[in-house]
Amino acid sequence: MSATAETPKPLTKKDLTADHPTWCPGCGDFAVLASFFKVLEKLQIPHEKICTIAGIGCSSRFPYFVNGHGVHFIHGRALPLATGVSLSRPDLHVFAFGGDGDGYSIGGNHLDHAARKNVNLTYIVMDNFVYGLTKKQTSPTSPKGFKSKTDPTGAIDQPINPMKKLVYGGASFVARTHAVQVKHMMEVFERAILHPGFSVVEVLSECVVFYPGIFDDGNPRKGGQFDVIEEKKWDNSPEDADRHDVSDENAAYRLASLQYPGKFGVFYETDRPTKNQLEQNMIDATREKQGAVSTVDLLSSRFASMK
C-alpha cells in the first residue's frame, strides 16, 4: 500500500533481489529463488507485505537473498516463528523456507502441528537428501545405502516419505516439484501462494557437491522422466475417471507411495478453515458479546470480581 495517491510502482525482480546467494555454483536452490521472484512479480504482492522466514541450512539462507522483511531464525523452528507472524498479522504474506534436515528432522514435529492447525502460510522445502551446510551427513530423506560422513558404509535407516508426512499431518495444500522444471515449479508456487491455509511445496533441489546426480531420474535431460500428475477436470469424460482427485486423501497417499522418482504436481488440496480464521472468529464472538469496552474497564471489572 502506497502512502501516496499514485499507483504504486510495480514490483520487479530487481526490487526483490538482495545479496548474491552464497550457494555453490549449480545448486538447485538458485532456480527455486528465481521462480519465487517471478511468481511474486506476477502476483504483485505489496513489497512491504512480503515476509520470508527460515531456520538453518543451505536453503535456509533464503531470506538473505530476498529483499523483503525477513527472519533467519534457529534450526528447525522456522514454522513456529512463522506461525506467530501469520496469526498476529493477517495483512502479511508469510513464506517459510528450509531444507530436509530443518523441516523433516529437527523441525519435524513443528511441521505436523503447523499442518494440523492449518496456519495460513506457504512453506517451500528444498529437499536434497543430504546435509550440505555441515558437509555431507545423512539426512532424514537420504536413501538407504547413501554413503555419508556419518554413515561411511551406507545409510541403514529407512528414510521418511515427505509427501505421506505432509498429507498425514493435515497440510491443506501439498505439492511436489523439481528444481530443474522451472515452469512447473512456478505454477505450483503460484497455486500454493494463492491457497488459503497451510500450503507446502516439496522441491527436489540437487546438491551438486555432496549428492550430485541424485535427482537425474526425474530430469528428462539426464535420461529420467518428469511424470506430471493429471488432475481431474470433472468433465464426465472416460479419461477423467483415471485422473487424480486432489481432494482425495487416499489417492494422495497412493501417489506418495509410488516408486522414486514418483510423480510431480499437486497431491492434495482441500478447503479447511485456517487457524487464523478460527482464532479471529473467537476474538470477534468474545468482543461482540462484551461490547465496546476499554482495556481499563475490562481490567477494572476483573479486579472487582476478586473483591
Binding site: A3, D15, A18, H47, E48, K49, C51, P63, Y64, N67, G68, H69, G70, V71, H72, F73, I74, G76, R77, P80, L81, A82, T83, G84, V85, S86, L87, S88, R89, D91, L92, N109, H110, D112, H113, E279, M282, I283, T286, R287, Q290, V293, T295, V296, L298, L299, S300, R302, F303, M306, K307
Partner: protein, 607 residues
C-alpha cells in the same frame, strides 16, 4: 487456653483478650484445613481469604497440592490478621482434620494449646501426648444428613466453612454471597446443596463441646474492599495491563494457570494465546509475535525453560523484546513439581549459550506479581531484549489481599509502529537504542531488514568481523548495564545500619520481614533488603553492606559446592565481600519465620 503468641514470638500485642461476653478477641489466627485434594478445601480457604479482603483484614494463604493425578493429601492454611500479615504462619491455631492421615500428619503443626476439630467419622485415634484441645465433630455424617439423597460426603468443605463462620463470628451474608458467586454459575442443585451444607455447619451446636467463641478484630483502617487473589492471576492481569496481547506456551505445573487465563482473557482484548506443540515451538511463536511488532509473552517452569534456552539466546542476539516467565518449582528435572524452590536464578541469568545478557526480575508478593509484569513489558519494549520474571510455586498459588492497582496510569495500549522508515534506518545503531522495523513497514531506501541470529552490523547484515563481534557483544551488554544504572538502591526495612542485614529475593519477602521484626524485638539491630531486580542488580549495594556487621542472604536453593546459595554467590562475586553469608534450604517448603531467625543468627555468628 493459651492461644497467645508462643514464647519465641515477642509480639505481645497480638496476645488475645477475652471480652465481657466471654468471647476471645484475636488479632490474628492461623487456620489449617487438612484433607485430600478433592475435598475442596482450597475453595473454602479461598472464601475465607476473600472475606478477609472484604473486611479490612490482611490475609496470606499457603497450600500444598499432591503431584499425583487425582487425590492425595492436601492442606490449605489461612493466616488472617487485623495487623500486617507477612507470612502464612509458622504454626496453626486451629486445625480441621478430615481424615486420620490428616490428623496424624498435622497435629504437630498446632501451637501448644491450639484447637483441633476433627471428623469423628474418619479419625479414630487421638494422641494423648499433646495439650491440643480436641473437638470431635461427625463432619461426614452431618454433611450427608444435611444434603440428603445420594450426595454422599461432597460438601464437607462447606459444612466446615459453616462451622468456621459460626466459631469466628464471621459475616454470614458475605460468605453466602461468595458461595453463590462460586456455585450459582453451575446449577441450582449445586448451589442449594452447598448452602444446605454451609447452614448445617453454621448451626452445628459446637458450643456443646467447645465453650469458646472467637472474634477476629477488624483492621484499623476501613477502606475500599481489597482485591484477593493468587500470584498467577495477579501476574496474568499485569501482563494484560502491560500491553501483552499475544503469547504462546506449553502446559506445565505450576505455570499452566497463567496460560489458561491468558487463553480466555486475551480474545477480550483483541489478542490471542496459542497452546504450542512443545516448549521450543512456544518460545518461537512468541518470538514470531515479537518480531511482528507486538509485546509478547511465553512462560513455563524450570524444565520448560531449559528447552526454550536456544531461542532465548536468539532473542538476545536479534534483540527482540519478549517477556519470559518462570514459575519455579523444585528441581532438577521433574523434581518436586508442586513444591517451592528458588533454584532457577542462575538458569535465568546464565542459562543460554554464548554471552547472553538479559533482564531478570523477581516479584516479592502477590500484588508485586502484577506490578512486576507491567514493568517487564515496559523493559522488554525499551531495551528490546528478553525480560525474565522469576516467580515460584508459593507465589503462584497463595492468596493475598491488596489494594486495586491504579489501572488508569499503568495500562499500556499497544500500537503497531509501522511508520515508514527513512533511508538512514539502522536497527542496531552502535550509539543508540535498538529499534526494529516490523514487517509491513515501508522502507524508503528500498532495502528491507532481515533479523538474524548471526552476528551482524548496525543494519542487521551478517558479519563475522572480529572487531564488530566485540563491539556488538559490548553493545548488548551495555544496554543492560545502563538499565542497572537507573535502578535506585533498594529500601531497607528495619534498622538501616547495625548488626545484621538479611538479604532476600522473591517470595521470601514477607517471612524475612517478620523474622527481622522478631530479631529487632529481641534487641537486635537488624534490617532486611529485598532485590526485585536481580540482573542487573542496582549499583552500589556495597554501600548498604558496609553499614552492617554481617550480611546474610536467605534463599530457597542449595548451598552448592562452594557453600553459597545462588544470589549469595552473585553478590559475593560482584562485591568480593567475605562478610556475605548464605542461608539455604532445599526441603521444598516455605521458610518458617522462626527458622529464618535462628539460621540467620547462626550464620551471622559464624561470620
Amino acid at each position: 487456653m493459651s492461644l497467645s503468641a508462643t514464647s519465641d514470638s515477642p509480639e505481645t500485642s497480638k496476645r488475645p483478650s477475652v471480652n465481657s461476653e466471654g468471647v476471645t478477641e484475636l488479632q490474628n489466627a492461623v487456620i489449617r484445613f487438612a484433607g485430600n485434594s478433592q475435598d475442596g478445601i482450597q475453595t473454602i480457604g479461598g472464601f475465607l481469604a476473600r472475606l478477609a479482603g472484604r473486611s479490612a483484614r490482611e490475609v496470606m494463604t499457603y497450600m500444598t497440592i499432591p503431584s499425583t493425578i487425582s487425590g492425595g493429601p492436601s492442606i490449605f492454611q489461612v493466616h488472617l490478621g487485623s495487623g500486617e500479615v507477612l507470612s502464612a504462619g509458622d504454626d496453626s491455631d486451629f486445625l480441621f482434620a478430615f481424615y486420620q492421615h490428616s490428623y496424624d500428619d498435622h497435629i504437630g503443626s498446632l501451637r501448644p494449646g491450639g484447637i483441633c476439630l476433627y471428623d469423628s467419622d474418619q479419625v479414630e485415634t487421638i494422641r494423648t501426648d499433646t495439650d491440643a484441645i480436641h473437638v470431635a465433630v461427625p463432619i461426614t455424617s452431618a454433611t450427608v444428613e444435611s444434603i440428603g439423597g445420594s450426595a454422599r460426603d461432597r460438601g464437607k468443605n462447606l459444612f466446615v466453612l459453616g462451622m468456621v463462620a459460626a466459631l469466628f463470628k464471621l459475616n454470614k451474608e458475605k460468605i453466602a454471597s461468595l458461595i453463590e458467586r462460586q456455585f450459582g454459575r453451575k446449577n441450582e442443585d449445586v448451589l442449594r446443596n452447598a448452602m444446605l451444607a454451609f447452614d448445617a455447619g453454621f448451626a452445628y451446636p459446637i458450643g456443646n463441646v467447645l465453650s469458646l467463641e472467637f472474634d477476629l478484630k477488624k483492621g484499623k483502617v476501613q477502606g475500599e474492599d481489597k482485591v484477593t487473589t493468587d500470584g498467577n492471576t495477579a501476574l496474568t492481569l499485569g501482563l494484560l495491563a502491560g500491553g501483552v496481547r499475544y503469547g504462546a506456551a506449553y502446559p506445565i505445573t505450576p505455570w499452566s494457570t497463567i496460560m489458561e487465563q491468558l487463553r480466555v482473557e486475551l480474545p477480550k482484548y483483541g489478542g490471542l494465546f496459542v497452546q504450542a506443540e512443545d516448549e521450543l515451538a512456544a518460545v518461537s511463536m512468541a518470538l514470531g509475535f515479537a518480531y511482528a511488532g507486538h509485546t509478547a509473552v511465553t512462560g513455563s517452569s524450570g524444565p520448560g525453560l531449559s528447552l526454550k534456552m536456544e531461542a532465548l539466546s536468539y532473542a538476545t542476539m536479534a534483540e527482540l523484546p519478549l517477556v519470559v516467565i518462570n514459575v519455579q518449582r523444585g528441581g532438577p528435572s521433574t523434581g518436586l513439581p508442586t513444591s517451592v524452590e528458588q533454584s532457577d536464578l542462575m538458569q535465568a541469568i546464565y542459562g543460554s549459550h554464548g554471552d547472553c545478557p538479559r533482564i531478570v526480575l523477581a516479584p516479592k508478593n502477590v500484588a508485586d506479581c502484577f506490578y512486576i509484569a507491567v514493568e517487564a513489558c515496559q523493559l522488554a519494549r525499551k531495551y528490546s531484549c528478553p525480560v525474565f520474571i522469576l516467580t515460584d510455586m508459593a507465589l503462584a498459588s497463595r492468596i493475598e489481599a491488596f489494594a486495586q492497582p491504579d489501572l488508569a496510569t499503568l495500562v499500556h495500549e499497544p500500537a503497531l509502529d509501522q511508520a515508514t522508515r527513512g533511508e538512514e534506518f539502522k536497527p542496531y545503531p552502535l550509539d543508540g537504542e535498538t529499534r526494529h522495523a516490523p514487517p509491513g513497514t515501508v522502507m524508503q531506501g528500498g532495502k528491507y531488514p532481515v533479523v538474524t541470529g548471526l552476528e551482524h552490523d548496525e543494519w542487521g547484515h551478517p558479519s563475522a568481523s572480529p572487531v564488530l563481534h566485540a563491539k556488538m557483544t559490548a553493545r548488548r551488554r551495555d544496554k543492560i548495564k545502563a538499565f542497572g544504572a537507573t535502578l535506585p538502591l533498594p529500601e531497607i526495612f528495619g534498622d538501616d545500619a547495625g548488626e545484621i542485614l538479611v538479604v532476600g529475593w522473591g517470595s521470601t519477602w514477607g517471612p524475612i520481614r517478620e523474622a527481622v521484626d522478631r530479631m529487632r524485638a529481641a534487641g537486635r539491630k537488624a534490617g532486611a533488603m529485598h532485590l526485585r531486580h536481580i540482573n542487573p542488580m542496582p549499583n552500589r549495594l556495597d554501600t548498604i553492606f558496609a553499614r552492617y556487621q554481617s550480611v546474610v542472604v536467605v534463599e530457597m536453593n542449595d548451598e552448592g559446592i562452594y557453600g553459597y546459595g545462588q544470589l549469595a554467590t552473585l553478590l559475593r562475586s560482584r562485591y568480593c565481600d567475605p562478610k556475605i553469608r548464605s542461608v539455604c534450604k532445599t526441603d521444598g517448603l516455605n521458610y518458617k519465620v522462626r527458622d529464618i531467625v535462628s539460621r540467620v543468627e547462626a550464620a551471622a555468628a559464624e561470620a
